[in-house]
Point group: C2
């Protein structure tokens, strides 16, 4: 009998039977280039690539867009096939929730602000369904987009805290040619909303240049600048603009933290868009 | 590319690489015949047997017996070796909780009564550490004693709700020759407390006979009988006596439910003992 005291040794002692690398991309479908870029990366890095398409009711609040969330399985399957996905897991709601669940995976603190504040219960729904999907697929690597930076922080926290045997791979946000972050929800936008929506990325790109020029000292200055620029579009209703430490999401006064996120959520009509800029702060000097 | 719509098919599609069966017995150590019976069963049923010994701070409340919980790794290792255990996982608290965790696995409803009521946060601690251990060991089968019947119900609920790829195997309570349920906490008892503690099992055995004779109609009658019998011992302080549906732990009026538990928790001095009787009800007729 062998006595083992560390997690890594315990894992590798039992890991001999697992010979193939499984890469996993969880999605809610209505795939765009952002999703496909995750799948392509998984295809490069893993033996088996699995994606899931599941619009998870648990992560939608009352009055949110669960019912009208766009779906097109045939198109999605064809896109996934073309980038070399091996398995598309497409369960029904009953398959995923065969009985009324009593169990929740709850991540505290970093879920209590930004989208978590605006969408109570959202991240419990995300953490719980990702846990279930990880248990079903048992991936070695799981791919998440940086557009949902808070979601990524929550998943990475959960994976560390619960010792999931999964490597989380963050992937760059994919954008339309005018800079709008790709999102399945972009189809909701009217032509005029679509034109104005480009302001999210535009404001963040302007901030990036100004940061490089050293024009901002405090988080409040950054937030004000972004608010003013987004507010210049008449159809934009700002939900939040926040400049925080990443991935802890701690509040910041000056911009001296190692890694900083500027996160924005803006409504155009009933459509809610998010975007963010991640950058290296000036460090504590 | 294959499109899959059910959990079982998704699992078996990815399961080809896993060829050995891993059996797992999580414990807090200070092993007794109850623990060893789980290990022997795992040894019979699995290729690889892993046990963990970890006194999990998260499942102890303030003022509980975390610090004085009995420990003897050398003796435990020798006992485990003798029954053919392959790996003993014995992590430090820092190894299990390298940073302040923000993530909790929470099971609602069935954790809100019995031991969960008396020990707030206890079952969150249990569910969270068992999740971590399952992720580290990745067992096919995990063995739990029926003495902790509520814990078993919580784990089974969590495994179903979160789609853990683990079969939970409930195992009979092991008892001393006079009927006292084996527990690492029995060592806390003084000689006189130890003599009186036998009343828990004695009361439950009497109830079993009376149930077979049809002497009880309602849960309240059963509870009163057990309370009176345990109360006959001067050192016994009853924490709860409850007759409930199992494993839902729904309240019962009559004894017509399919499966019923009589669960008791009793303090002798500062020592808290639990025991239970599971039986088939008369069914709804």
């Amino acid at each position: 009998m062998k006595i083992i005291e560390t997690v890594s040794e315990m894992r590798s002692a039992l890991n001999t039977a697992r010979t193939k690398t499984i890469g996993f991309v969880p999605t809610m479908g209505y795939l765009h280039e952002g999703h496909l870029s995750l799948m392509k990366r998984a295809r490069q890095e893993c033996d088996i690539v699995v994606i899931s398409i599941f619009v998870n009711p648990l992560q939608f609040g009352p009055g949110e867009d669960l019912d009208r969330y766009p779906r097109d399985l045939q198109r999605d399957a064809s896109l996934a096939r073309d980038v070399g996905v091996d398995f598309l897991f497409h369960p029904s709601v009953d398959e995923m929730y065969p009985e009324k669940p009593l169990t929740q995976v709850k991540v505290s603190k970093i879920t209590e602000l930004l989208c978590g504040k605006a969408r109570p219960g959202h991240f419990e729904g995300v953490a719980t369904v990702v846990t279930k999907l990880f248990h079903i697929i048992m991936p070695n690597r799981a791919y998440f987009g940086l557009k949902d930076a808070q979601q990524l922080a929550v998943i990475e926290q959960m994976v560390r805290d619960l010792h999931f045997p999964v490597t989380v791979v963050p992937c760059e946000t994919m954008r339309e040619s005018d800079g709008l972050a790709m999102s399945s929800r972009n189809v909701y936008l009217s032509d005029e909303e679509r034109r104005q929506a480009v302001i999210l990325n535009q404001a963040l790109r302007e901030v990036k240049i100004k940061l490089q020029q050293g024009q901002f000292t405090t988080a409040a200055e950054v937030n004000q600048y972004v608010r003013d620029r987004i507010g210049s579009q008449p159809l934009a209703r700002i939900e939040y603009v926040e400049t925080l430490a990443y991935p802890t999401l701690d509040p910041l006064h000056t911009l001296t933290h190692e890694k900083i996120i500027i996160a924005v959520a803006v409504r155009f009509g009933s459509t809610r868009l998010i975007d963010n800029l991640l950058f290296e702060g000036r460090g504590e000097s």
